[in-house]
Amino acid sequence: MSAVKSRTLSLSKRGMSFETFMWLFTRLSALAMYSFILTGFIGALLMGARNHMNFADIMRWALMPNVTHVQNTNLPDLAPWETSFWKLVASALLCTAAAHGVHGVIVILDDYLAKPAQRQWTRIVCFTLFLIIVPIGIYVIWTS
């Protein structure tokens, strides 16, 4: 029971260290991604997805609302699917997912790499990849 009690400590009693902040960020960024995915899912249904694509295509769109993900469906008009609103949602989803993901990858690698130098190098590699991939991803979203 003591383990359960220790989990109910408020944030003020635990203190907000960097680890606590990233723990909270991981949960809140996940919630943010669920809201983006739900936005894509509902948006797809409102734009007529029910009659022009199958369930997997709707899921594919909801998980990244980029127009290239619905190009091979039976949609008669792609214009509503490539508005700035959807590009903004896709960009926000990409940024949130990348920040969530880079932290997750570092947490996993920390479990398998014990030397401080190894951990430092993996952090440098992960952050460098993050800084390179996110702008390229946003460029791809806005030019596709």
Partner: protein, 128 residues
Amino acid sequence: MGLKRDVSLYTALRYKGQGPFLTYILHRIGGLGMAIFITTHILASFTANMGWRAGFLVNQVYESWIFQLFIFFCVIFHAINGLRITILDLFPKLILYHRQAIAIEWIAFIALYGFSAFTIIRTGLLGV
């Protein structure tokens, strides 16, 4: 400071963590799968836009129905398991019911992934 494990690889593989361990390890596999996929998919799309053949080839693999089955597994499992973790962490009193939460998670996953997999396979094999 070197990496020193207290158990052999054989013992580790025989570890019986049961349901919670299975979700833990699948969450990590799904997360890593997505991280590698998203990184390479972005690079492939970027290079394809520039006319590079390699980008087209990589994206062709990603659009195949067999790969979609794999990546949908990663995404849907990671998302549903992540939702369970988030709910239990933000409402710690519910941690007492974590095994029931895992059972609900599997039901939701099988329903959502099963339906997605069915449509992916049907489209891939029959084109409908």
